[in-house]
């Protein structure tokens, strides 16, 4: 990629255009912004707050599970807490985390656009998120819900707890997600810089594009499903109520038609982040660019036909179970393609072992472990043994926390200088990364064992001989919690007192680094013309002087 002359002149030190952070510092200039970068930053703050909220719920659950019998809270309180943990982590953190925060910030920069296609809708997406979060949190404060985040009927349509506001919150959050996805698809189609054809697009953009397809096509089905459950609650329509001729399994089909693809909403952007960062820190162009890009689309496509693996023991026919099992395993093939290509990218690269790279390593290990157990769970005969046990919980967390959160942290560290123009403390970064990877293993490896021994999930009490492994898991979760707090502290310090970072501290040849860090409001003085592939480290053209550290 070439920089325009004006951009190069500015980077060389002539009077710089004010960065997006300096362009208006009043509260209103943020709340009323149309700038994709500011919307991204606001999303980032919101999802981090949600993450800590969900994390506190999780730690409280682990504290209760130190004891096999009643401890700290009653059974209803426990049920409420795991529901809140699930709802907050999934709908308020994992779904918007990477697309809405980092996607918003870097996607237009990566494709050489001045903004997303619909900037006003983009801001509206943030307010929809806030409104949905506010309604859901209102429900949590006023009694909470005890259904689990899956809202299975007929329990969810009859329990006396506050399911209704949480369902409405989820409905509105769905809109926010749809709007973001729609915006990204249109942006990628219409606002790519001259010369940037589809097969030159950064792999993060491919990841977000695949995610957006799922967001747009799957989320409306969740919308109608929670809408129907809401109507059941206040008007007794009975569409999912067996007492009125309804079919609760139909609810499960409709719910998982969204919620299984939704795990790819959570993990595809994470894979996109890894595809970018692995190149930047191995200083090599992506190995198997096309394979990585197309496997994202493959996962998005196949992801729509796997939902039945959640219904293996719900009265589905043997043929259906087999078909859904095989379709689910196809996801494993696409994922493996990516994993081999990332490792291929590292092979003979000049690896810079910085904090984001530590998370990349964590990600690869967790994704392989979580993915392989996923393939095992897609095997019907094995799933009948593991169904609704901690084995599933551990598998799910290996993918969601292990893979998605590691990628979120890699993205946070990699793009921190891009977003705020500051450098964080590298030493503390590595300390926190080690704590998190260690703590994560200590938390969830025991849960695989517990599940295999038959401990059911979502139970308030458990037999005493499970206690040792539960204590180990809680100890691990404490380490994990410390790790996240350390990150919060050193990043806050970096924001306030951190050193001014260079324009491209990693020497990365990702396209988002072709403009200043932090970028000016309009991103580029002149729309760049793209002449090379992203992460082409063979040439010495800008952006980014190659510095091997």
């Amino acid at each position: 990629m070439r920089l325009s002359e004006t951009d190069s002149a500015r980077l060389a030190g002539s009077p710089p255009a004010p960065s997006y952070l300096e362009d208006g510092t009043t509260l209103m200039s943020w709340l009323n912004t149309r700038d994709h970068k500011r919307v991204g930053v606001m999303f980032l703050v919101a999802v981090i707050v949600s993450f800590f909220l969900g994390g506190i719920f999780a730690l409280s659950l682990r504290m209760k599970l130190l004891q096999p019998g009643p401890f700290l809270m009653d059974a209803l309180g426990y049920n409420r807490l795991f529901t809140l943990h699930g709802v907050v982590m999934i709908f308020l953190f994992l779904i918007p985390a990477i697309p809405s925060a980092f996607g918003n910030f870097v996607l237009p920069l990566m494709i050489g656009a001045r903004d997303v296609a619909f900037p006003r809708l983009n801001l509206a997406s943030f307010y929809l998120y806030l409104a949905g979060a506010a309604i859901a949190i209102y429900g949590m404060v006023h009694g909470g819900a005890d259904t689990g985040w899956t809202f299975y009927t007929p329990y969810s349509s009859t329990t006396p707890t506050q399911v209704l506001p949480i369902l409405l919150g989820v409905f509105i959050l769905g809109f926010s997600s749809i709007v973001t996805g729609l915006n990204f698809i249109v942006t990628v189609h219409t606002l790519r810089a001259p010369g940037l054809n589809w097969m030159k697009m950064p792999l993060f953009v491919w990841g977000i594009y695949a995610t957006s397809i799922i967001q747009v096509l799957a989320t409306p089905v969740l919308g109608i499903t929670v809408l129907i459950v809401s109507v059941e609650r206040f008007a007794g329509f009975g569409m999912f109520d067996p007492a009125r001729g309804g079919d609760p399994v139909l609810f499960q089909h409709m719910f998982w038609f969204y919620s299984h693809p939704a795990v790819y909403i959570m993990v595809l952007p994470a894979m996109g982040v890894i595809s970018e960062t692995v190149c930047a820190f191995a200083r090599k162009n992506p190995f198997g660019y096309k394979a990585i890009a197309m496997s994202s689309i493959g996962i998005a496509f196949v992801g729509f036909f796997t939902w039945g693996h959640h219904l293996f023991v719900a009265g589905q026919s043997t043929f259906d179970a087999g078909a859904f099992g095989i379709l689910s395993m196809l996801v494993g093939i696409f994922t493996a393609i990516k994993i081999f290509n990332w490792v291929g990218t590292m092979y003979r690269g000049a690896i810079a072992f910085k904090t984001p790279f530590a998370y990349i390593c964590g990600f690869l290990y967790f994704l392989v472990f979580g993915g392989m157990t996923g393939v095992a769970l897609a095997t019907t005969s094995l799933d009948i043994h593991w169904h609704d046990t901690y084995f599933v919980v551990a598998h799910f967390h290996f993918i969601m926390v292990g893979a998605s959160v590691m990628a979120f942290l890699a993205a946070l560290h990699y793009w921190f200088p891009k977003m705020f123009g500051k450098t964080y403390h590298e030493g503390w970064g590595l300390v926190a990364a080690s704590l998190i990877i260690l703590g994560f293993n200590a938390t969830f490896v025991p849960q695989f064992l517990l599940g295999n021994y038959g401990m059911p999930r979502r139970y308030y009490q458990y037999p005493e001989h499970f206690q040792a492994l539960n204590v180990a898991s809680t100890a691990g979760s404490t380490l994990l919690g410390f790790g996240f707090v350390i990150i919060l502290i050193y990043l806050a310090i970096a924001l306030r007192w951190g050193q001014r970072s260079e324009q491209n501290p990693w020497g990365s040849k990702g396209f988002e680094w072709m403009t200043a860090s932090p970028p000016p409001t309009h991103n580029f003085d002149e729309i760049p013309t793209i002449t090379q592939m992203p992460h082409d480290y063979r040439t010495h053209e800008p952006p980014g002087v190659i510095r091997v550290t």
């Binding site: 296609a117 249109v186 409306p220 007794g236 009125r244 309804g246 139909l250």
Partner: protein, 215 residues
């Protein structure tokens, strides 16, 4: 002369290189949005299919007790309104904003007519206690699954009715914009988007009508 010359202020956003690009983006965005609407209704259509398969007799019987005259009339009203909204776009494009505005007003009136007829039907159902789920007490149809037919009927027509109201708000806003003189041969994409949405509202009814009233 570039096509951008002579455009009113504020139509071409700063981040697009040309109006053509912006129109393309708006159209793609709208079609994606329409796809989400179809998937929203798809949940209900799936439910309809499942329960029709489960209770074929009750669905046939329930269908026979709907007011087919009202349903047919509403179908005609909505199809005509789709025609008037298309006409509005046509007039805007040949620089006849007043004729366009009149067509939008006509569309709005048809929409109101649709809601009026639907309200009459709803009142009948309430009087007969032909209501969904736990409120069902319709004496004429008393077979297993009859309540489920009315559950599906109210969910589907109710959600469609909400879409009619949403479409009317969009059309009212477009009427105001048309009277301001925003749409012309230079630019009419905003109106086109609204018309597309209205066609979708119409199209959903085209599927609801045979499913609920005819078969």
């Amino acid at each position: 002369m570039s096509p951008e010359a002579g455009l009113p202020e504020g139509i071409l956003a700063h981040h697009y290189s040309s109006l053509e690009r912006q129109n393309e983006a708006m159209r793609l965005g709208m079609w994606l949005f329409l796809a989400t609407e179809i998937l929203l209704f798809a949940g209900l259509f799936t439910g309809y299919a499942v329960y029709r398969y489960q209770f074929p007799l009750a669905f046939a019987e329930g269908s026979r007790h709907l007011n087919i005259t009202a349903g047919t009339l509403n179908t005609i009203v909505l199809i005509t309104s789709s025609f008037t909204v298309a006409l509005a776009l046509h007039f805007a494009r040949i620089d006849k904003p007043r004729a366009a505005a009149i067509c939008i007003v006509l569309t709005l009136l048809f929409a109101l007519g649709f809601l009026g007829i639907k309200a009459v039907e709803y009142i009948e159902h309430f009087q007969e206690h032909a209501l969904p789920g736990k409120y069902y007490a319709f004496e004429e149809v008393n077979i297993a699954g009859a309540a489920m037919f009315y559950t599906m009927y109210f969910l589907m027509t109710g959600l469609h009715g909400l879409h009619v109201v949403a479409g009317m708000s969009v059309l009212s806003w477009l009427l105001w914009r048309t009277l301001q003189g925003r749409y012309s041969s230079l630019y009419s994409t905003g109106l086109e988007m609204g018309a597309l949405y209205w066609h979708l509202v119409d199209l959903v009814w085209i599927f609801l009508y045979p499913l609920l009233y005819l078969i």
